[in-house]
Amino acid sequence: MSELKSGHRVLTCINCPLGCTLDVEIADGEVVRVTGNTCKRGEVYGRKEVTNPTRIVTSSVFVSGSSTGARTVSCKTASDVPKDKIFDVIDAVRGVTVPCPVHIGDVIVPDAAGCGVDVIATKEVF
């Protein structure tokens, strides 16, 4: 992780549609204060976004043997992954085909891209 520069970083919180404008104050390589947030999640996001930004990654993969003619099942990382791993996660699901039936929560790719996070199904496909 790169050294944090002291000063202020202005961010938009992505937790909910409010989209609060956050001011993250950094001094001596550490976050000292987050302002502008409406809730606690905003503060957590503000701290994380400047130190170790993460995202939930969503995608879809092909299925085989669907009785309903479905071609794909949607999927997501079970929890957020470092932002710079987004494309690695996408690479990890590339070319994957899962047999039907698929249930919400079924693991599609375990420990995707070595992030320690599984990619799981988000749809019931029969």
Binding site: L11, T12, C13, I14, N15, C16, P17, G19, R55, I56, V57, T58, S59, S60, F62, T68, R71, T72, S74, C75, K76, K83, I86, F87, I90, I104, T122, K123, E124
Partner: protein
């Protein structure tokens, strides 16, 4: 048989309405869905960000839909998929509704119900409505069509993409197509502000370095067979292109995310009064349209930006519909039309373009009333006031209000309790005095 309630549409609004109607005591409920599965457009919204309000956790669209589908099946509510409603009518005397639908398995079927909830959702504004000059090649998609192609069908519509309009689906597709290996060159927005949620600008455009060109529009589409490029121009304050600002973008795909329109063809034929501003039916605090016993909720009523609010609104509509059905059933064909006086029309100034509901009858209010509205331009440092006969009964400070984001005001039941003779309800958006 006569159903208590028929819900037209099995998307988020329809599912929530049916479920809430069941909770309110209706037992004979039928949900009619035109697609092959319940869930509506949520099935193709595979991104996350749904459910924070409803389920207190962050879900993807299909997961959110499944929660409601499970509730529906748990309650044993009847539904039919692959079924398209062709016509809805309401008998003037008995107020019994007749719903005509067609499907491959059941053929042409006519259903009857005491109440109907309209939950048909919305459609995307197409290129034709925009009058973008140029050719008509392949490679022009509404963002939602592209979303379906990618997320359901598993196809990539193109490799070099320009997006016109910064609606949420367009922003979501910018990210989705980037992740699938396409290059998204730019997102052009006619207005000086985004039409989508701020968080989508951050995580769908900024994360991937996709430029958002505010006050820009596509002024020409090139390519006789497949799109070969588009010309983007800057627009002035009058939203007209400024000559000399044209820039050519070589691309094979143009996605349009330029607004959603409530799908009210059935409602219009039924004779419900339609608001020219929302494009949806005019409703009272119970979400009842101008046709007694016909309720509306979700995007068919007015376009929402958050599915959680669709569910909430639809649940309220479903509960009111259940109450109507129970009452009409009790009266056995002798409805009391007196009760259907929709009350006072909400007026507004200083920013709102409309309110939903449009009418409140203080005598009918049971429980809190949520009034939702959108503003017509970006407003900063405002106070939103609710005035009952000129007296301020609620005041809410808002730092920023934008057309892309819906506002809501919660009017508690107590406000109306002592105000049954109310004459005027006004929403006034004022500049904050320093």
């Amino acid at each position: 048989m006569i159903y208590d309630l028929i819900v037209i549409g099995g998307g988020p609004a329809g599912l929530a309405a049916a479920s809430a109607a069941h909770d309110a005591g209706s037992r004979e409920i039928l949900v009619l869905e035109r697609d092959e599965r319940l869930g509506g457009i949520l099935n193709q919204c595979i991104h996350n960000g749904f459910g924070l309000h409803t389920f207190k956790e962050e879900l993807t669209g299909p997961e959110y839909a499944q929660r409601y589908i499970d509730i529906l099946t748990g309650k044993g509510i009847e539904y039919k998929t692959d079924t398209m409603v062709l016509d809805i009518s309401s008998d003037k005397d008995t107020l019994i509704k007749t719903v005509t639908a067609v499907s491959g398995s059941d053929g042409l079927t006519v259903y009857s119900a005491y109440a109907v909830v309209l939950a048909m959702g919305c459609r995307e504004r197409s290129r034709g409505a925009l009058n973008i000059p140029g050719y008509r090649p392949a490679g022009i998609f509404s963002a939602g069509t592209a979303q379906r192609l990618v997320n359901i069908e598993g196809y990539l519509p193109g490799r070099r993409v320009v997006i016109l309009g910064s609606g949420d689906i367009g922003l979501i597709m910018a990210r989705r197509m980037t992740l699938e290996g396409a290059k998204v060159l730019a997102c052009a927005e006619l207005m000086p502000y985004s039409g989508g949620l701020k968080r989508n600008i951050v995580q769908c455009l900024d994360d991937f370095g996709i430029p958002l060109l505010l006050s820009h529009t596509v002024t020409e589409i090139r390519g006789k067979e497949r799109v070969t490029g588009v010309v983007i121009s800057e627009v002035g304050e009058d939203r007209k292109p400024i000559p000399g600002t044209e820039r050519f973008y070589e691309c094979d795909t143009l996605l349009l995310s330029v607004g959603l329109l409530p799908e009210n063809e059935l409602s219009k034929e039924l004779g419900t009064e339609i608001s020219p501003v929302t494009g949806g039916p005019v409703v009272s605090e119970s979400f009842e349209t101008s046709v007694p016993g016909v309720f509306a909720a979700g995007n068919v009523l007015h376009v929402h930006d958050l599915v959680d609010f669709v569910s909430e609104e639809a649940a309220a509509a479903g509960a009111h519909a259940a109450a109507f059905a129970a009452e009409l059933k009790d009266r056995a064909g002798a409805p009391d039309t007196e009760l259907r006086d929709r009350g006072i029309e909400i007026t507004f100034d200083g920013g709102p373009r409309y309110t939903v509901p449009q009418f409140i009858n203080p005598a009918h209010v049971s429980g809190p009333v949520k009034v939702r509205f959108r503003v017509g331009s970006v407003l900063k440092n405002r106070v939103v006031k609710v005035l009952f006969d000129g007296n301020c009964v609620l005041s809410k400070k808002r730092n920023v209000m934008a057309p892309g984001e819906m506002e809501e005001l919660l009017l508690k039941e107590e406000l109306f309790a002592g105000n049954r003779g109310l004459k005027e309800i006004r929403i006034s958006v004022e500049e904050e005095s320093v």
